[in-house]
């Protein structure tokens, strides 16, 4: 059997790599996508007071500390059986909406968008935000920075700090906002709505009006008919902060909804010998390997999944965009899209929803109320908190002693949900470029990169040790396992 290794060397050496095994005929037999894992977080938490978790869990990941902050806060609420006042919940959701705007903006303009704006075959050095600016115009860069700045301002006003908020505690928040802050937040939110509309228009102009790109999106390279999960409100509309998790089958039918504390009834984890990370799957469907279809419990939790798992969006402009999404991609068919590259479009629809929700909450009459905390009185035992992180459903499960000191912690983080489908997408991309022993090296790495980038995965991203670059190395081996060629790309 031949083996091709795509190995991110430097600091991730030995942890993150893609190995492609070929069969005797020279076709892809299997791919192994190994994600570097940061070890021991759950053990690290045991013995600490649960109140520390909204601060501590934000350190798992430098990308979405706000998501961990919220899941930890909600797990703390559940643990103390305390319902925060409406204003506290609204402020948390307002902070979270602003965070979504910054996160989705960064992903689209710095990461996912360049694949389309510059083209999937553009040199990797151009497929970044600088390339986008060069092609589309300098003002785009200014808008991206502005969107991030406004988002961080709101996070700081409500969360006490930029990036790593620190104000959520069991039962609510430690601080509220003034009327002056509210007005400022509203103004920034209105700008964010316009920016989100602009971003969707840009996607329209660059991708939907480009037949080649549309074919790429609708092609079968990145097509997987899996299950989808996503949080919904009582009307089954997308919600990032609170609600039940809706589970939808590949045929578009909802098979059920579960509350955060019921997650173990629905989600099980598969252990494979070749990776430290586990593969979550739907317990009620079962594990059938890395395959899609109605019989396979592999599911996905991404912006695309959230749209598929819901009946619509809770804000008017996002709802219009949602309807157009399905009318364009699956006209007259069940409302479920399986094309993974459509995730980038779904992400922009969520960006618009987050911006609209930001304005809705900023103009809510209760939002400046000083009633932001309910004092917990119950004895803590066990609690589960769930939110939608930008890159998937995030679940925190804590157990404590009667003093609220942690005795056990279990986390299912956003990217982990998607580990199986990411592996499947990488395999499909490889199959497309390696046939009968012929490796089309041009484009192989780009397409594999595009495969996993659609999921916006998070690989131990809390660390920033320099030099930090992650070249991918493809080692092509002959049937005896000897390397016959080495390809390298800094991606």
């Amino acid at each position: 059997m031949q083996r091709i290794t795509i190995d991110p060397i430097t600091r991730l050496e030995g942890h993150g790599k893609i190995e492609i095994f070929l069969d005797e005929a020279g076709n892809v037999a299997n791919t192994y996508f190994q994600i570097p894992e940061l070890r021991g977080f759950e053990r690290f938490c045991v013995g600490r007071p649960v109140e520390e978790m909204p601060l501590l869990t934000g350190r798992i990941c430098g990308v979405c500390p706000e998501a961990h902050h919220m899941a930890a806060a909600k797990a703390g609420d559940a643990l103390y059986q305390v319902d925060p006042p409406p204003t506290a919940k609204k402020l948390r959701e307002l902070l979270y909406s602003a965070f979504y705007v910054t996160d989705h903006t960064t992903h689209f303009y710095a990461l996912g968008g360049p694949d389309f704006v510059m083209g999937p075959d553009a040199p990797v050095a151009e497929r970044n935000i600088l390339g986008v600016i060069h092609k589309v115009g300098l003002e785009i860069g200014g808008k991206v920075i502005q969107a991030r700045k406004y988002g961080h301002n709101v996070i700081e006003m409500i969360g006490g700090r930029k990036v790593h908020p620190c104000t959520s505690i069991p039962g609510g928040l430690t601080k509220g906002i003034t009327e002056e802050q509210r007005r400022e937040i509203e103004e920034m939110g209105r700008w964010a709505v316009e920016f989100a509309q602009f971003s969707l228009q840009l996607f329209d102009d660059l991708v939907l009006k480009n037949q080649a790109y549309l074919e790429l999106v609708l092609g079968d390279i990145y097509l997987h008919q899996t299950y989808y999960i996503g949080m919904v409100d009582e009307q089954n509309r997308v919600n990032f902060y609170d609600g039940k998790i809706s589970v939808v089958a590949p045929n578009g039918e909802r098979i059920g909804k579960y509350a955060a504390h019921e997650y173990t009834d629905w989600i099980a984890e598969r252990v494979e010998p070749w990776t430290y990370l586990k593969f979550p799957y739907l317990k009620k469907v079962g594990w059938r390997g890395f395959v899609d279809g109605m019989e396979s419990g592999v599911y996905c939790a991404t912006p695309l999944s959230r749209l598929n798992a819901a009946d619509g969006m809770a804000t008017p402009l996002a709802q219009e965009a949602y309807e157009r999404f399905y009318e364009t991609l699956v006209p007259g068919q069940p409302k479920v899209v399986h094309h993974r590259l459509a995730t980038h479009w779904a992400r922009l629809i969520e960006l618009l929803y987050a911006a609209e929700r930001w304005v809705e909450l900023a103009t809510d009459p209760e939002i400046t109320s000083p009633n932001i905390h309910t004092v917990p009185t119950a004895k803590p035992t066990e609690g589960v908190g769930c939110v939608e992180a930008p890159r998937g459903t995030l679940t925190h499960h804590y157990w404590t002693d009667e003093r609220g000191v942690l005795t056990r912690v279990n986390l299912i983080v956003g990217t982990t949900n998607n580990y199986a489908p990411i592996s499947m997408s990488v395999k499909k991309a490889a199959q497309n470029f390696i046939k009968n022993g012929v490796v089309v090296t041009e484009g192989l790495l780009n397409r594999i990169e595009m495969a996993f980038r659609a999921y916006d995965p998070c690989f131990g991203c809390a660390t920033h040790s320099l030099p930090g670059q992650m070249p991918m190395e493809v080692v092509i081996r002959d049937a005896q396992g000897q390397p016959i060629d080495v390809l390298r790309q800094y991606c």
Partner: protein, 159 residues
């Protein structure tokens, strides 16, 4: 606003990755009386670039994983000496590299530092959650602190 910034980078609970925080924390009281800001940060790329806005000179303190040096070995170099191999994406798959982010900032006319010096400490263990540094990395902290103070003094004299 002071013209000099010392910024400790890394994850404060991820073993040797936190060495930049340790150094910055020790440096802070020593520079308290001087026109110099000291901070810690756990983000890279665009977020890091945004934090540098308005300063003329910056000292970044961070863990380094070259794999070629001994744990605890200190290297001091201008940021430009760091190969910008991440014009693409994977430094953090959610962000761009710092040099690319700085180029973006320059294009947008943002006020960015004239000089960025990196004090890098070769790390040994950055995949395990712990607040403890490995012994050789911990032993390097005082020397890294001296390096930072020296560079700050040099920058302040230039001003």
């Amino acid at each position: 606003m002071p013209e000099v910034l010392v910024l400790g980078l890394g994850n404060p609970v991820l073993g040797d990755d936190s060495v930049g925080w340790h150094v910055a924390t020790q440096v802070a009281p020593m520079l308290a009386a001087l026109p110099c800001d000291v901070d810690v940060l756990a983000v890279g790329g665009l977020g890091l670039m945004e934090r540098l806005v308005g300063y003329r000179n910056v000292v970044l303190v961070d863990a380094v994983m070259t794999g070629e040096r001994q744990p605890g070995e200190i290297s001091v170099f201008p940021l430009e000496a760091l190969p910008d191999l991440t014009t693409g994406h994977l430094t953090s798959v959610h962000d761009t590299s710092l040099p690319a982010a700085l180029r973006l900032g320059h294009k947008l006319g943002v006020s960015l530092p004239e000089q960025i010096i990196v004090v890098g400490i070769e790390a040994q263990r950055i995949y395990d959650f712990t607040e403890t540094l490995t012994p050789r990395v911990a032993a390097a902290v005082p020397e890294a602190v001296r390096c930072v103070i020296e560079w700050v003094s040099r920058f302040l004299k230039e001003d």
